[in-house]
């Protein structure tokens, strides 16, 4: 199925990620609230990729699991990585200028959330929202 890759190098790219996720979410048949949730989660994660990961990319697909359709997005960067993922997922924790809601908030807004990070190598966050 259609795969879309959006590079994340600046603030405009974060907007592009939102628009592309919205497009795929509509195509996958997600309702308005689900669309809004997954687009918001993607916005948080795209900003993390930019601010903390020093840029990277978002790769998104429409996915099918039996009768269910959904959207999956993978955010990848080659930044400094996250040393303590549990801590990074806590609300209110931030290593930068944010509010500390990005990672934990994104996890709450999705049906699937996985994060793999190697300090010094980079971070990969995968989210999915099903219909």
């Amino acid at each position: 199925m259609a795969r879309s890759t959006v590079p994340i190098r600046n603030g405009e790219d974060v907007v592009r990620v939102r628009q592309e996720v919205r497009r795929l979410a509509i195509e996958a048949g997600l309702g308005l609230v689900d669309q809004t949730k997954v687009v918001t989660a993607a916005s948080e994660l795209a900003r993390n990729t930019l601010d903390y990961g020093k840029g990277g990319q978002a790769v998104m697909d429409i996915v099918q699991n039996g009768a269910r359709r959904g959207v999956r997005i993978v955010f990848e960067d080659n930044g400094p990585g996250i040393a303590d993922i549990e801590l990074a997922l806590k609300d209110g924790y931030t290593s930068g200028k944010g509010m500390g809601l990005g990672l934990g908030g994104a996890r709450r807004l999705c049906n699937e959330f996985a994060i793999v990070s190697t300090p010094g190598k980079g971070t990969m966050v995968t989210i999915a929202r099903w219909k």
Binding site: G11, E12, V14, V15, R18, Q19, R22, L32, V33, Q35, T36, K37, V39, T40, S43, E44, R47, D91, G98, M99, L101, G102, G104, G105, R108, L109
Partner: protein, 132 residues
């Protein structure tokens, strides 16, 4: 760089966000509004977000900052027109927009601001005493 237009309506400022804001645009709005509040001695700021399809933590924080800055400059901020799906998402995200007054639509928001301008009380004080 693009800017979001700010309209002056008596002692109130009116902002309608009609584009998907990137972060720098949100920060520019914060700066421009601060300048205008002082320039026009504005008492109220109405921000219409009915065209916004999402409010993420950055936009939420910017709205909160605008309300706080306006308060320090003796102006009240009312955010109006939030879409239902956006409200649901905001709460799940963990953002409650502390310090930001909201109204269902621009008409009610303007009424809140007008009352403040007519009575001279900040909106919060008015409502504490009002006991309508």
């Amino acid at each position: 760089m693009d800017r979001i237009p700010i309209l002056k309506l008596g002692e109130a400022l009116l902002v309608t966000i009609q584009v998907d804001m990137h972060d720098r645009l949100a920060l520019a709005l914060e700066e421009d509004l601060t300048t205008r509040i002082v320039e026009y001695s504005a008492k109220g700021v109405l921000i219409d977000i009915s065209a916004l399809e999402i409010v993420d933590s950055f936009i939420g924080r910017t709205l909160g900052n605008i309300a706080m800055i306006a308060k320090v400059l003796d102006a009240d901020t009312v955010v109006v027109g939030m879409r239902p799906a956006v409200a649901i998402t905001l709460v799940e995200l963990g953002l409650s927009l502390p310090g930001v007054r909201t109204a269902l639509n621009a008409e009610r928001g303007m009424a809140m601001i007008k009352r403040r301008i007519d009575d001279g009380y900040p909106i919060s004080e008015y409502e504490d005493e009002g006991g309508s």
